[in-house]
C-alpha cells in the first residue's frame, strides 16, 4: 500500500517520468494542457509510485487525459468512469484511482454515477474539467452552460438552468469538494494534492477554457486582472474575504443569508469564518450559492473536507470479519452446506 510506505522507498520522479510517448492531441491553446502540466509537475511531490496510479476517464476532450499519463489508465465510455473506477478502487485499495471527466461526461450522461460515488465515498480523486461546453463533439451546450447559450444545438439559445457542480456534490453527501481553475497552476496543484490526500471520494471542479468552442467562458473571474476582485479564496479557519487587501468579505444574516460586505463597514467579526471540516454541508452549500455562474465573485478552494470511512475500507472490513469468523472459504463445505444425503451402492442414508 503506497500510503503506508515511507517516502524513502519511493523512487524520485520528475515531470517527464509522468509523460507518455503519445502526442498530446488537444487544440493549441486548450486549457487541458495546463491542467495536464500542473498534475505532471505535482505528482513528483505526492510521494507515490507510478505503477500505483490509475487514471480512468470517460469520453470527451478531457477524457483523453489518461493517454498522456505514464501510469495505468483506461479511456472508457461516455459517463461511466466513476462506476468503472468504483470496481477498481474497492478491489484494489493499494492503488490511487483518479477519474478525469468533463462537464458533459460527469454531469450529463454520467450524473447518476457521479452522485452515487460521492454518497458512497468511494476512494477516488475526481477531476472535473468544466469548460461549460461539449468540446469533442464540436460545441453543443452542456449541463453547466449558462442560460441563453447559443450553440449548434441551441441556435435560439439554451433554456436549461445549469447545475452548480459544487452544490450538486454537496447535495449528494460528498465528503470533499473543491474548485480551482486552469489559469492558476499553484492553486490547481494545491487542490490536486488536497484531493489526492483525502481518503474517500474527492471532487475537484476545474474551470477549463475551451478556446475553440467556448473561449473566455471564465475570463470574468479567472483573467489575471479580475482574479483578486472576482475570486473568493476559501481558507479553512480563516475569514472569508477577498479583494486586493481583503477589503471585501462574506457575512451571514440572522436568516442564514450570505451577503458580500465591505469588511470595514461590517466589521471583522461579522465576517464568516470558513470551516471546511464542519460535519453538516450547510455552510459549504451556502458558499456554493454565492455565485450562480463564473460571472460574479466566485469562491475557489476547498468547500468541504470531512472524514468518513471509505466504501472500500468498509467492504474489505466485512470480508476480513467474515474470514476471521469462519476461516477462509472452504468450497467442499460450501457445496455440502445444504441438506445432503448419500447414495451408496446398496442402501441410502443421510449425513
Amino acid at each position: 500500500m503506497s500510503t503506508t510506505e515511507t517516502p524513502l522507498d519511493i523512487p524520485i520522479t520528475k515531470r517527464k517520468d509522468w509523460q507518455t510517448d503519445q502526442e498530446v492531441r488537444w487544440c493549441p491553446g486548450c486549457g487541458d494542457y495546463s491542467i495536464l502540466a500542473a498534475l505532471q509537475m505535482a505528482l513528483p511531490d505526492m510521494g507515490v509510485r507510478k505503477e500505483n496510479q490509475v487514471f480512468v476517464s470517460g469520453i470527451g476532450c478531457a477524457a483523453r487525459f489518461p493517454y498522456y499519463m505514464e501510469t495505468y489508465g483506461m479511456h472508457s465510455i461516455h459517463g461511466r468512469a466513476p462506476a468503472i473506477a468504483t470496481g477498481l478502487a474497492v478491489t484494489r485499495p493499494d492503488l490511487d484511482v483518479w477519474v478525469v471527466s468533463g462537464d458533459g461526461d460527469a454531469l450529463s450522461i454520467g450524473g447518476n454515477h457521479l452522485i452515487h460515488v460521492l454518497r458512497r465515498n468511494v476512494n477516488l480523486t475526481i477531476l472535473l474539467f468544466n469548460n461549460q461546453i461539449y468540446g469533442l463533439t464540436k460545441g453543443q451546450y452542456s449541463p453547466t452552460s449558462e442560460v441563453g447559450k447559443v450553440t449548434k444545438s441551441t441556435p435560439f439559445g439554451s433554456i436549461d438552468t445549469p447545475f452548480n457542480p459544487v452544490s450538486l456534490a454537496l447535495g449528494a453527501e460528498a465528503t470533499f469538494v473543491a474548485r480551482t481553475h486552469d489559469m492558476d497552476r499553484k492553486h490547481m496543484q494545491e487542490m490536486m494534492m488536497r484531493a489526492h490526500q483525502h481518503k474517500g471520494a474527492s471532487l475537484v471542479e476545474i474551470y477549463q477554457n475551451c478556446n475553440v468552442f467556448n473561449d473566455g467562458a471564465f475570463a470574468q473571474v479567472t483573467a489575471k486582472e479580475n482574479r483578486e476582485s472576482m475570486l473568493i479564496p476559501l481558507r479553512h479557519g480563516e475569514p472569508v474575504v477577498f479583494g486586493e487587501n481583503g477589503e471585501r468579505g462574506v457575512a451571514l444574516d440572522t436568516q442564514g443569508r450570505p451577503t458580500l460586505v465591505n469588511v470595514a463597514e461590517a466589521g471583522e467579526d461579522a465576517i464568516l469564518i470558513h470551516d471546511e471540516s464542519r460535519p453538516d454541508p450547510g455552510l459549504a452549500f451556502l458558499l456554493s450559492r454565492l455565485a450562480t455562474g463564473p460571472t460574479m465573485p466566485t469562491p475557489i478552494g476547498v468547500f468541504r473536507a470531512v472524514e468518513r470511512p471509505t466504501y472500500g475500507e468498509q467492504m474489505n472490513a466485512q470480508l476480513d470479519a467474515a474470514t476471521a469468523q469462519r476461516g477462509p472459504g472452504d468450497l467442499r463445505a460450501l457445496i455440502h452446506s445444504g441438506v445432503t444425503w448419500t447414495v451408496t451402492g446398496s442402501d441410502n442414508g443421510r449425513d
Partner: protein
C-alpha cells in the same frame, strides 16, 4: 384404533407422483413444496420442481392474481422434468383451485381446504357456484379437509389466537400429504426447529399442525390407500437439492477458488436474477465482493473496473438489464478483459412477465452490441448444470480475455433437482496468468497475443514497468495505441472475431444422443433439455428413431455441430422463443431447421415436444 385403520388401508407402491401445492401468496405454499421436496430428497427419490409465483409482491388475498403454486415430481428412477400434469393437487382456496385444476390429470387426487371455500372466497375467485357442490369436480378424486379448523384445534391448547394459528395450516397440509406418501417426518421437524429458532411458540404451532395433519391422515377414514415411492437408485455419491440460482452462485465461487482469483460482482437487483446477488453476498470469506449498484450499467461498469484490477469481474441480470449493458459489453470486447455477464432470462419484451420463464435473449446475447463485437455464449441446461456452466463461462473469459455471456432462465433459476456433489479435486482449475514481465525487449505490449488463443496479456495496475493505457477507441495491433489506420481496423475486427472462434478449440464436440442413424434430429439448448430428452425417450420407446443434440456453447458452436446436423434431413428445434437458435443454425450451416416455439412463460411439457416429433417424423 390406528391399528384398525391400518388394517383397512392398503399400501401401494408407485414409481412416481407429481404433486402440486396451490394456495394464496400468504399461505406459504412455496415453503410447503420446498419442505416436501427436501424430505423426498433426503429419502432418496429423484425429483424435479417447478415453483410458480405471481408478479405482485402480494396480490389481494384470495384473488386469482394472488395464487402461488409449487409442483414437485418425485420418483424411484431418474426423471428430467417436474412433470406435465399433476397427479395430486392440494388447493387451499377457490382461486388456487381455479387456476390450477387444468393441470391436474383427469381422475387425479384433489385435496381441498374446505374452510377456504367461504362465500366471499368463491366470489373473489369468480365462482358463481361452489365447485365442491356443483358437480364440476366429478371425475376427480376429491378429499375435503377443513384444514383451518383442524389446525386451530391442534394448537388450541397453546392459546394462540386464530389469526396466528392459521399461519400454520400449510404445515397441516404438509403433514397430511407427507403421511399420504409415506415421507419421513424427521427432516421436516428438524427444519421447523432450526428455521424458527428463537420463536418457540411458532415452532410448537408448526410442529403441532404438521403432526395433526399427519395424524389426520392416519386416523380419518378418508384415505383407503397410502402410497410409497421408493428411493431412486441414483449413482452412488452425496447429493443435495439445489436450485439453478444457488448452483450458479456456487459455481462462480468455485471458479474463484479454481483460479485463485477474487470475485467481484457488480449487480442491480432484478427478478429472477436477484438471488444470485443475495447468495454471493453471503460468501465474503471466499474473497467475494458484491456491490449493489445504482443501475445495470454501473453493475457491469464496476465489474470491468474490477477486472482491470485483476479480479474475476461478474455482473448478473435479466433481459431488461442485459439490454442496458450492451454498450459496456462492447467496451469489454474492445478492452479484451475477462468478464462474465449472467442473464437469467424471463418473459419479454420490455417488463413482460417478470416472474415467468422464457429463452428469448439468445439473439440479443449474440448481436445486442453495436459494431462487430463478438463474444462467447454459454447456456446451462438444468438447475445443477448451472454450477458447471458458471465455471465454464469463467474459464473461457479468463483464458481468452473476453466478456462471456452465461444464459440461464427463470425455470432453472427457481427450479430444483438433486445434485450429486462433485469432488472439488475433480473440478477444472485454470490460471489467470497475469503478466509480470515485459513481453518484448523494447517493453510491454498490451495487445501482443498468445498465438494459440489469440488472447492478450493481462497486466495489473501496481505492476512496475508494465504501465499501459487501454480504451474503447480502435487500437493498433500489438501496442494497443489508438489507431485510425483503415487496414489495422479491418485486421483488428477480424482478429477479435477469430479469437472468439478459437474458443472452439477448447470446448467438447457435441454428442448425439439416441439414434445416430435417425432421419430426425432434435436440437436444443438451455432449460429445454429435460423436456426434450424425456420426449425423445418416449418416441424411441415405440421403436421410432430419433437423434438428439443439446448445445451448451452457443457461440462459438462446437466444431462438429455443422457436420452432425448435416447428417439429418430433418431438424427440430424446440425453443421458448420464436426460433432463435433455429435462425442461428440456418444461417451458419444452411440446414433446414424447423422451429417449435412456445412463448407462454412456462417450460415445455414433454408431450408438446413428443407430438411435434411424431408430426415431423410423419
Amino acid at each position: 384404533m390406528s391399528d384398525t385403520a391400518e388394517q383397512q388401508r392398503t399400501t401401494s407402491e408407485i414409481d412416481k407422483v407429481v404433486i402440486r401445492f396451490a394456495g394464496d401468496s400468504g399461505d406459504g405454499m412455496q415453503l410447503t413444496g420446498d419442505r416436501f421436496t427436501s424430505a423426498s430428497a433426503a429419502f432418496g427419490n429423484d425429483l424435479a420442481t417447478l415453483p410458480d409465483f405471481p408478479a405482485e409482491i402480494r396480490a389481494p388475498a384470495g384473488t386469482l392474481a394472488g395464487v402461488s403454486a409449487f409442483q414437485v415430481h418425485i420418483s424411484d428412477h431418474d426423471i428430467l422434468t417436474p412433470g406435465d400434469e399433476a397427479n395430486v393437487l392440494v388447493a387451499m382456496n377457490p382461486a388456487a383451485l381455479k387456476t390450477n385444476l387444468d393441470d391436474l390429470e383427469r381422475g387425479g387426487t384433489l385435496i381441498v381446504n374446505t374452510d377456504g371455500f367461504g362465500e366471499r372466497d368463491l366470489i373473489k375467485a369468480g365462482y358463481e357456484d361452489n365447485p365442491l357442490t356443483d358437480g364440476s369436480l366429478d371425475g376427480y378424486q376429491v378429499y375435503e379437509v377443513p384444514m383451518t379448523t383442524l389446525t386451530r384445534g391442534s394448537v388450541q391448547e397453546l392459546g394462540i389466537k386464530p389469526r396466528d394459528a392459521d399461519r400454520s395450516k400449510n404445515f397441516f397440509a404438509l403433514g397430511l400429504v407427507s403421511w399420504l406418501y409415506s415421507r419421513p417426518v424427521d427432516p421436516t421437524l428438524e427444519y421447523i426447529e432450526s428455521r424458527f429458532k428463537g420463536k418457540d411458540d411458532v415452532i410448537t404451532a408448526n410442529t403441532l399442525a404438521f403432526k395433526a395433519g399427519h395424524a389426520f391422515g392416519e386416523t380419518a377414514e378418508l384415505f383407503d390407500t397410502v402410497y410409497e415411492v421408493r428411493p431412486a437408485t441414483l449413482a452412488p455419491g452425496t447429493y443435495t437439492t439445489i436450485t439453478g440460482n444457488a448452483a450458479l452462485a456456487w459455481g462462480l465461487v468455485a471458479a474463484g477458488q479454481l483460479s485463485g482469483m477474487e470475485l467481484f460482482l457488480g449487480s442491480y437487483p432484478i427478478t429472477p436474477a436477484s438471488d444470485i446477488l443475495h447468495e454471493l453476498s453471503k460468501h465474503k470469506s471466499f474473497g467475494v465482493r458484491t456491490l449493489q449498484c445504482e443501475d445495470e450499467i454501473a453493475g457491469i461498469g464496476s465489474a470491468i473496473g474490477a477486472a482491470f484490477g485483476g479480479a474475476l469481474g461478474l455482473t448478473t441480470t435479466s433481459g431488461p438489464g442485459l439490454a442496458l449493458k450492451g454498450e459496456a459489453m462492447g467496451l469489454a470486447v474492445s478492452l479484451e478483459l475477462p468478464l462474465v455477464v449472467i442473464d437469467v432470462q424471463r418473459g419479454g419484451p420490455s417488463t413482460g412477465l417478470p416472474t415467468k420463464t422464457e429463452a428469448s435473449d439468445l439473439l440479443m446475447a449474440m448481436y445486442g452490441r453495436h459494431g462487430e463485437s463478438p463474444l462467447p455464449i454459454v447456456a446451462a441446461k438444468s438447475p445443477s448444470d448451472c454450477f458447471y456452466a458458471a465455471i465454464e463461462a469463467c474459464r473461457i473469459a479468463v483464458q481468452y480475455r473476453t466478456p462471456v455471456i452465461l444464459l440461464s432462465d427463470g425455470y432453472l433459476a427457481n427450479g430444483s433437482e438433486p445434485w450429486r456433489l462433485p469432488e472439488v479435486a475433480d473440478l477444472p482449475a485454470f490460471d489467470p496468468g497475469y503478466a509480470t514481465e515485459p513481453n518484448t525487449p523494447e517493453g510491454f505490449l498490451p495487445y501482443l497475443r498468445d498465438p494459440d488463443t489469440l488472447a492478450r496479456p493481462w497486466a495489473l495496475p501496481g505492476t512496475p514497468g508494465l504501465e499501459h493505457r487501454i480504451g474503447g477507441l480502435e487500437k493498433e495491433d500489438g501496442t494497443g495505441n489508438v489507431s485510425y489506420d483503415p487496414v489495422n481496423h479491418d485486421h483488428m475486427t477480424r482478429l477479435r472475431a477469430a479469437k472468439v472462434a478459437k474458443v472452439a478449440d477448447t470446448i467438447p464436440d457435441v454428442e448425439v444422443i439416441g439414434d445416430t442413424d435417425a432421419e430426425l434430429c432434435v436440437l436444443g439448448w438451455g432449460s429445454t433439455w429435460g423436456a426434450i430428452t424425456a420426449a425423445v425417450e418416449r418416441v424411441r420407446r415405440d421403436g421410432r428413431k430419433v437423434a438428439q443434440v443439446h448445445v451448451t456453447h452457443l457461440n462459438p458452436f462446437p466444431k462438429n455441430l455443422g457436420e452432425v446436423l448435416g447428417r439429418y434431413p430433418k431438424i427440430l428445434v424446440p425453443e421458448l422463443n420464436l426460433g432463435q437458435l433455429s435462425r442461428m443454425v440456418r444461417a451458419e450451416f444452411l440446414v433446414p431447421a424447423t422451429s417449435l416455439s412456445k412463448v407462454q412463460g412456462l417450460p415445455f411439457k414433454f408431450a408438446e415436444i413428443e407430438v411435434a416429433i411424431r408430426d415431423l417424423l410423419g
